[in-house]
């Protein structure tokens, strides 16, 4: 399945300047960098050990913040090298005041020092972005032997107090923490709020007062990565801090509730950027004149945007948070997610259709805008159209091909912030349930005596599977054919006719009609023929059954696969044995397979009905055995075979 570029939804993020601004201060005496000093427990499952990390954030004014950072990290092997990264990002609004890197060998003896002047400077425009002013200043070092220890120090200043760096002491799987400290110095006693995550049951040192805050985590062992586990950030210790009054690249603001915060965003980032030329408004009015209701109008407008724009990411304007004005998008016909969403909203406004700019964390892994903690969050913007029945319409404005009101696994089922003129509001996007995420096929297979076959398949995909397949229409036929050959690699010597596709963009249903022939599907065993009932394979998970799993099992999205295989037996053969119908039900999902023999128009037919549902959910680590049983039972049951013999 590696060759599936066609099917990826190519939506793009915009880079909010979430630069983990770093820096430093305190220095300890002596040479504490010897690796021998580390508690052996911290070396278990570890590629790197955070020996001592201090991030000290001084809020000198609402629009002035200095961050001193110092980290001492021992790298145990090659896989830990990435935690030796020594650098900071900067831009017009983030200045690096100091940087240095020292390297020590396993005995704690210094082997190299790199001063600020020797740091490398590069632009840090992420792939997919055409332009931003972000740059990175970093030091390079080639390790000669392991373990080694780095000490990186930096000091950074910024005028954006809206992004107080979070505290994420555990930086990855296979990284342990000897000590990590997070400090906020707040001499002006600005009001702040904080949110602890996954800190329950941890021994922490905490100090908190009106004008200072210190958290320290010590002796925290490394997490081991396990398949199907939740994201690290869902269970690792974190702390977030935000100010009630803040500044974003010098623009001051306030907001301790989502309502106020959203109001500030609206007034400062959106208001007044929705003006459109009269000609465009006239054109939209004409296009929508005969539409029967607002939904149909919105559909026409969305289609207009898709036909008249493309996605280009240029991150300028209030730290990359301000959309380019609708009039400019109207003229150049491109924009990033903010620009295109704001433009679509402006077009809807022109027809008096209400819509809201919705800030979201995008990505296949669902991540919420935290309803409980007000701060600047999100990395993407979509559009919300409130509906009376509560089933809001959601528009992804950066894609030219995705259907109206289809957001797929990019922004589904998560909390987002609606930026309304009257203030912010947290709501949840659409959830795709296993009942909606359906892929169903209907296959007719004519079997030859020599193992060859001719098949015709009609397969329909809805919900999340729709989003994974519909883009195949836009690749060359040669690559479409290659896609199916790889997708169904278990079918040998496939020969496909030109695939036919039907994309129902209104119902979000994609239909593939395929005809192909192949060889060696059945196998001979003496005078008998073995017929695998598993014409199209089910994607089951095969995960290690090792003991000692620690992390929960998480299935992010449920799915239903329903297939019907109608095998016409070769002439002169009849059925000798057929597996029995079986149904399995478990908390993880369900499965049934029901093979039956019948005669139709004088042909001997084996009809197999099969259905598989995997539920969405999170189960404790102890469920591993049951989960494996469920998966392997399905695997075994769907792999059953029928036996055919020559008729007398």
């Amino acid at each position: 399945m590696q060759n599936q570029p066609t099917v990826l939804i190519m939506l793009r993020l915009f880079t909010f300047l979430f630069l983990l601004v770093s820096t430093t201060v305190f220095f300890s005496q002596g040479s504490p960098y010897s690796t021998n000093l580390v508690d052996p427990k911290l070396k278990e499952n570890a590629n790197a050990i955070v020996r001592d990390e201090i991030r000290s954030i001084s809020i000198e004014a609402v629009d002035k913040m200095r961050i001193n950072y110092r980290k001492v990290v021992t790298i145990l092997n090659e896989k830990g090298d990435r935690y030796a990264f020594a650098g900071d990002y900067y831009s017009d609004n983030i200045k690096i005041r100091h940087q240095s890197l020292f390297i020590y060998d396993k005995n704690g003896a210094e082997i190299k020092k790199i001063r600020a002047k020797q740091f490398n400077d590069r632009s840090a425009i992420s792939s997919g972005t055409l332009y931003s002013d972000t740059r990175v200043s970093y030091a390079e070092f080639t390790p000669r032997e392991y373990p080694y220890t780095i000490v990186y120090e930096s000091e950074v200043e910024t005028n954006s107090t809206i992004f107080l760096p979070d505290w994420n002491p555990v930086r990855g799987f296979y990284v342990s923490v000897e000590k990590s400290t997070y400090k906020v110095l707040n001499p002006a006693s600005l009001e702040y709020r904080l949110q602890e995550r996954n800190l329950e049951n941890l021994e922490l040192e905490k100090e908190q007062s009106l004008n200072a805050l210190t958290y320290t985590l010590s002796n925290f062992p490394a997490y081991r990565s396990e398949p199907l586990s939740p994201l690290l950030e869902e269970f690792s210790p974190q702390l977030q801090v935000a100010l009630n009054e803040f500044s974003l690249v010098g623009v001051k603001g306030s907001g301790a509730t989502w309502k106020d915060f959203g109001k500030w965003q609206y007034d400062n980032l959106l208001a007044g950027r929705d003006r459109l030329p009269a000609t465009t408004i006239n054109k939209i009015s004409q296009l929508t004149a005969n539409a029967k209701d607002d939904v149909e109008k919105a559909r026409i407008i969305y289609d207009y945007v898709q036909q008249n724009s493309r996605y280009i990411s240029v991150q300028l304007g209030i730290g990359g948070w301000e959309p380019i004005p609708a009039a400019e998008v109207d003229q150049v016909k491109y924009g990033d997610c903010k620009g295109l969403t704001n433009y679509t909203k402006a077009l809807l406004d022109s027809q008096n259709i209400t819509s809201y700019y919705a800030v979201v964390y995008s990505g296949e892994e669902k991540k919420d805008i935290d309803p409980e903690f007000v701060s600047i969050q999100g990395n993407h913007v979509i559009l919300n159209l409130p509906q009376d029945d509560g089933k809001d319409i959601w528009l992804e404005c950066t894609s030219q091909t995705i259907p109206f009101n289809y957001i797929g696994d990019f922004t589904d089922d998560r909390h987002v912030l609606l930026v309304k003129p009257e203030g912010g509001e947290i709501v949840k996007t659409k959830t795709y349930t296993p009942e909606e995420n359906v892929q169903e096929s209907n296959c007719h297979i004519n079997l030859g005596e020599d193992g060859s076959f001719e098949a015709s398949i009609i397969r329909k995909s809805r919900g999340i599977p729709y989003g994974n397949i519909y883009r195949i229409t836009s690749v060359p036929e040669k690559d479409q054919v290659l896609f199916y050959k790889k997708h169904w690699g278990h079918l040998k010597n496939l020969n496909l006719e030109k695939p036919a596709f039907q994309n129902d963009r209104e119902e979000h249903e994609f239909t593939e009609t395929l005809k192909f022939s192949g060889e060696k599907y059945t196998s001979k065993a003496g005078s008998r023929i073995l017929l695998p009932l598993n014409f199209l394979k089910i994607d089951t998970y095969s995960i290690s059954g090792r003991e000692g799993r620690k992390l929960p099992i998480k299935i992010g999205r449920g799915i239903t696969e329903a297939d019907t295989f109608e095998f016409s037996l070769p002439d002169g053969f009849e059925l000798e044995a057929l597996p029995e119908a079986v149904t399995i039900n478990s908390e993880f999902g369900s499965f049934y397979i029901a093979p039956q023999f019948l005669e139709k128009d004088g042909k001997n037919i084996i009809l197999v009905e099969r259905s598989y549902t995997l539920n969405e959910g999170t189960w404790p680590a102890e469920s591993l055995g049951e989960f494996r049983d469920f998966m392997y039972s399905i695997h075994a049951l769907s792999n059953q075979k029928a036996v055919l013999v020559r008729s007398n």
């Binding site: 190299k112 632009s123 000669r144 150049v332 278990h490 040998k492 496939l494 073995l530 095969s542």
Partner: protein
Amino acid sequence: MQKFYFLAALMLLGIGAGAQDFRFGKVSPEEVEEEFHPQDNEADAAILYRSQNVYYEYNDHTGFTLVTDIHERIKIYTKEGFDWATKEISYYQNSKDKEKVTSIKAYTYNLKDGKLIDEKLKNNGIFQEEVSDYRLTTKLTMPAVQEGSVIEYKYTLRSPFVTSIDDTPLQSTIPINRLEVKISIPEYLVFRKYPNTKSPLIIPVDESSKPFVHMSGSRSGGRLEFNQNVYEVNTNNVPALKNEDYVDYLHNYAAFLKWELTYTKFPNSMIENYSHDWEGVAKSIFSDGGFQKEVSRDGFFKKDLDKLLEGVNPQMERAELVFNFLRNKVKWNGYYGFTAESGGKTAFNKGEGNVGDINLLLTAMLKYAGLKVNPVVVSTRSNGIPIYPTRKGFNYVIAAIESGNGMILLDATDPHAAMGELPARARNWQGRIIREDGTSAWVNLNPQLQSQERSVLSYELGEDMVLRGKSVNLHNGLFARNYRENFGGLTEQSLIVNIEKGKGNIILSEVKQENLKAIGTDVKETYGFELSQGVDVIQDKIYLKPFIFKGLSENPFKAEERKYPIFFDFPMLKNTTVNILIPEGFEVEAMPESIITRINDGEGEFKFLVSQNGRFLRLESEFDIKKIIFLPDQYNILKEFYAQMVEKQTEAIVLKKTI
């Protein structure tokens, strides 16, 4: 292949581009109306016209400037073609001088109610990025682009680096309808042009000469007159370059011209030779490239090597000691280059260096140890293939020991390779050995020795239908190198997880790795296993695919046809022997048959041998490929060869109850 040549030639000669007007701004409504490309109807975009004019300008104060005018007209057919509406121009700077992009002019053309509308690119669509200290990028993104749009832009790139002319592209990943290239070079600078011979396209280049006159602006100045050598390409309908699986590097098959400065001959100056044959290139690399200095300095490592080599006499043992000593001492910092960046001495003291630092130092050390050793300059895959005498064609260096038994290639930047083995990055066609005496010669970099992987899978089928047994895997040569890279240094836990991957319902035990550290020897990996659901039981019969997780289950070659050669990493032999003990009370009803297949006179061979002795079954499968490059016309043979292997390795043994 031949057919393709013929077709391509036909297309080039054949259909003209029609009566289009390619002057800037003369876009026609018909071009915007066109819905798909007439020759390549699945193309997302096409270059309707590309003109590249390269020439030298003379100025009384600054002398020559190398100027490149680009004019391109691009048609966008589909949304997938929108990427072509963004153009990135990449150019160069150093601490003294920089190239500049000027005179950018660009428009997008659309039809509105049957009328052609143009939209100008403004400054808000032009971005300058300083990527690094050496690289600058100017990015243009066109306004008002939609399906059907035609975009047109032109710009000028001015370069003070007059002795270096960039490669001239003659093909793109989208079709080019009309291509006009003109390169005019003053007689003072003598360049040689080289087409890419790996491209199946043959695009003719016309050569002529033309006078150039420069009148000095100042009163005292006179008149400068010289001849120019002019190279021109005027062609139609260049097909798109399209990717295929298992290609070494797609760009190696694109049509382009390379330009090599051979010598300069300015008025009142001596001829200055750059390079004009391989001997010359070798000499210039040896003397100016710092090779001479690097491979002769030994003072700083003398003491260490004397100690290391004391009492060791056999040459190859001495070489191996030095090779391993250096690899422990100096680590590769990830940078290429055939010259030493910081120098062997600094690298030795700092413990890190680029490719040049390390492998020239290796050469110096081996020389000191008494071996006949010289550097070999190499071009990595992404740097293309050195096909003509040029220093620029190389970007990497290794060392070669010449002994009675031939040449042994060494690369001390790779911690896992043994003497005689190279990492994949350095295995690109051929390199050039540069000897101290000034001679040079081609060296084949493709691995000559066959690497082997031998596995023995011994298991018993229990009455509970679980397979229990042991797997022993022996990795030799480059298989061992790759194994060390992928499976070395893992914790037991992640090693187990890695091995278990893709093997079904399996539980491993007693996983052991031997010789992991002893580079140059075979790596041995053993583990016990218990595999559930490894057999099918149907009506009292057992169906067992004997190769369980060791067989190839799918043919990797799926495409119908092939345009470019197929590459294997190295010559290889994979042998898997399976020993099975079947449960008591069962006997064999059917076994796969033995076969032997050969292709191309034994360049590939597949052996499948089966035998039985009571309850003991033995199957052996051997895949043997002696060559690493197969031409496109051998694709179907190779595909069929693999199909046969897949079939045998997935065939089941049938067991039935004894009566």
